[in-house]
């Protein structure tokens, strides 16, 4: 997934589409933001300058579906290796789960979550630096009649388990089934996430990063592309784009000295 932050207006349509697609409920008190569930959360950031130089950007944040830990990084013995693909994966959240309730799918690179197997220990929540994992602190108070409007493809979750963005995995399953019946490959537009479809400004692009035919493959080679917290070697599959240097700088932590040097080099962050 590639998200162009210069196109994002922060309208929140992606979040709403995500909630609707994935049967994320509305709690009694949604003002309690550190307990409400938003698989795709939109952060607002600014450049910290006073008016009239103030600039604002929005960062939609789904699960990063990290591949994680390149060879040579600490903990490499925890890598899951796929002998067929000659690749390794070590997302921060997957190896920690004691009950194998989350897994790395080698075919898609999607980090899955199996709520019915989750014991609710929240170790994965603690492991994720992006706060992309949510624990169900409450039972969702579905108003009378609303369960009939839920998507039949996604099971609503119960209290006491963790959930997160799955890149609309049921959509992938449907696309895969269709391709199987048709005897074809899954086309770029056959599998799109709800957020990518809903974005009115076309800021979210979805596809296979490794497929040269797909738009995302070309987008990630742009010099304005970056990922969140690259220094942690989580190797996320969500890329962001912005021509504004201060936005790109907000994506990662820099040792103070480097930060100052970087700011001096770009003339104050623009």
């Amino acid at each position: 997934m590639v998200i162009d932050l210069d196109k994002c207006t922060g309208c929140g349509a992606c979040s709403v589409a995500c909630m609707s697609e994935n049967n994320v409920g509305v709690l009694h008190d949604e003002t309690d933001k550190i307990r409400s569930i938003t698989w795709l959360r939109v952060y607002q950031i600014d450049n910290g300058k006073p008016f009239p130089e103030t600039e604002v950007a929005f960062i939609p944040r789904p699960c990063m579906h990290c591949q994680g830990g390149k060879a040579g990084t600490p903990g490499q013995a925890f890598f899951q290796a796929d002998p067929l693909l000659d690749e390794e994966a070590h997302p921060p959240c997957v190896s920690v789960c004691p009950a194998t309730a989350t897994d790395y799918d080698w075919e898609t690179g999607i980090v899955s979550q199996i709520p019915t197997r989750c014991i609710g220990c929240r170790y994965c929540v603690a492991a994720c630096p992006y706060h992309a994992r949510y624990f169900n602190w409450y039972d969702v108070p579905w108003p009378k009649g609303t369960p009939r409007a839920l998507s039949p493809f996604v099971s609503p979750r119960m209290r006491g388990v963790v959930e997160k963005c799955t890149f609309c995995y049921p959509r992938y399953q449907r696309a895969r089934n269709k391709a199987m019946v048709d005897g074809s490959d899954i086309g770029e537009m056959d599998y799109q996430t709800a957020c990518a479809e809903a974005c009115p400004s076309g800021a979210i692009t979805f596809g296979q990063l490794q497929n040269p035919e797909h738009k995302v493959h070309k987008l990630i080679s742009s010099e304005h592309t970056f990922r969140l917290l690259e220094k942690l070697h989580t190797d996320p599959k969500v890329y962001y784009m912005s021509k504004r240097a201060w936005v790109r700088e907000m994506a990662d932590n820099y040792v103070t000295r480097h930060k100052k040097l970087a700011q001096a080099a770009v003339g104050g962050g623009h």
């Binding site: 550190i34 307990r35 952060y43 950031i45 960062i59 990290c66 830990g69 990084t73 600490p74 903990g75 013995a77 925890f78 899951q80 921060p92 997957v94 190896s95 920690v96 789960c97 004691p98 009950a99 194998t100 309730a101 197997r117 989750c118 014991i119 609710g120 220990c121 929240r122 170790y123 929540v125 603690a126 492991a127 994720c128 630096p129 992006y130 706060h131 949510y134 624990f135 602190w137 409450y138 039972d139 119960m158 209290r159 006491g160 388990v161 963790v162 969140l228 917290l229 220094k231 942690l232 070697h233 989580t234 907000m250 994506a251 990662d252 932590n253 820099y254 040792v255 103070t256 480097h258």
Partner: protein
């Protein structure tokens, strides 16, 4: 014909259950003081009913503080309960038989710590009924899986290790079958001491490994040896340093409260010496680990030490952990004069235990409190009264078991001779 209930009046005689040659308070006084643990357990029950019935929304944990006071207490009591396995290891396997007078107490305290921790963990998980999934669908890559397996099995080992003390009760041991069983258990105790050492060694380590493997959490992340991050070894090291101190500290507290001598001062001094040497070596390793983290690990993540300490979790926590409750008690315990003084030895041991408990608090809470994303906010956490209720289980359950054991079981073999005069 003798009927089973003919002997009941004799069994009702409380004194006949007391260990040989010791004095205990009157039953009504004992019953009065039992009110304290029972009150704590009642508080726990209210918290447990609310958390199990209404869910973990009864706590003040949230998606930023996924772990809270329960995990802190769990880690702390498991570290402090390490006196059980380490004292057993020294006594039965290394052959340090001078520690025999305190082994029973160490096992009893370990049993309380582990069982209390397991009961709390049962409430901490969001789906307690699925607790067995960790065994059934075990993920062998997870440190937590290893913790679940080893804590559970070690708790069973502790039950077995405690059993001879129960069977040695004055009345129970009169039943010939129990007496024989107890005697046989004593002879094979080395096997359980070895099993306990193996299990405890690994889960103490895995509890530390749990944090070290969080490679995307800069405060906790560490490098390591093979699959084991440095925190794996540091947690074992600190636990075996603090465990003997905690055991001795509880024995000393019991002495002060009961007004009776329970173990000779030599035993306490030896425990202090063991604790002191382990603590000094641990502090050397911990200081080296901290230096590596500050100068190598953090800069590689784009961070500096200043980014890791914000009020209320400021630098003071580090100075307290490494300085006041780390190096100071370590150096104190190495001094023979300190160990000879009852008061100073007690103080140094309290400081040792505080330092290790503080280390567990820092790894649990500070690791989670620091926002990793540069544009994330800092959130504070204070436990709810329901959380304190659950956390008070260890104290309530511990007091209850300890009071009953002190009154009825021969936990302190030196007590009759020390109080003869």
């Amino acid at each position: 014909m003798r009927r089973w209930f003919d002997d009941l009046p004799k069994y009702a005689d409380d004194q006949s259950w007391h260990p040989k040659g010791v004095k205990r308070c009157r039953p009504e006084v004992f019953l009065f003081w039992l009110g304290l643990p029972l009150t704590l357990l009642a508080y726990f029950t209210v918290g447990a009913v609310l958390c199990l019935g209404l869910g973990l929304n009864q706590t003040n944990m949230n998606d930023y503080f996924a772990f809270g006071v329960w995990i802190v207490v769990d880690l702390a009591v498991i570290a402090l309960g390490a006196g059980a396995f380490f004292t057993s290891f020294l006594n039965y396997i290394v052959g340090k038989t001078e520690l025999k007078p305190i082994v029973n107490a160490a096992v009893l305290i370990g049993f309380i710590c582990y069982v209390g921790a397991i009961l709390m963990l049962g409430i901490d998980i969001g789906q307690p009924i699925r607790g067995w999934f960790g065994f059934w669908h075990a993920n062998v890559h997870s440190m937590l899986t290893e913790v679940m397996f080893c804590i559970t099995t070690y708790a069973i080992v502790l039950c077995i290790e405690l059993l001879p003390s129960v069977l040695d009760n004055k009345r129970i041991s009169r039943v010939p079958e129990f007496g024989t069983f107890s005697h046989n258990l004593h002879t094979i105790m080395i096997v359980f001491a070895a099993a306990g050492t193996f299990l405890s060694f690994f889960h103490q380590g895995s509890l530390g490994g749990m944090f070290g493997v969080l490679y995307a959490r800069p405060f906790a992340a560490r490098g390591g040896l093979g699959i084991w991050p440095w925190t794996f070894f540091l947690f074992i090291w600190s636990a075996i340093a603090a465990g003997p101190s905690f055991t001795t500290m509880i024995v000393m507290l019991t002495e002060k409260i009961s007004g009776r001598k329970l173990t000779s001062h030599n035993v306490k001094m030896l425990m202090g010496k063991i604790s002191g040497w382990l603590l000094v070596t641990y502090m050397l390793a911990k200081s080296a680990d901290t230096a590596w983290w500050v100068w190598v690990k953090l800069p590689s993540m784009g961070l500096t030490m200043d980014d890791m300490y914000h009020n209320p979790y400021g630098y003071w926590l580090m100075w307290f952990e490494l300085g006041l409750f780390g190096w100071v008690p370590a150096l104190m315990l190495l001094q023979e004069k300190v160990r000879e003084s009852y008061g100073l030895l007690f103080l140094a041991m309290v400081m040792t235990c505080t330092g290790v408990a503080l280390n567990r608090f820092i790894f649990t809470i500070q690791s989670l409190a620091l926002p990793v994303l540069p544009f994330e906010k800092f959130y504070a956490y204070l436990p709810s009264w329901q959380e304190w209720g659950i956390a008070s289980l260890v104290l309530g359950f511990g007091l209850l078991v300890y009071m009953l054991a002190y009154r009825y079981l021969p936990i302190f073999p030196q007590e009759p001779e020390l109080n003869d005069k």
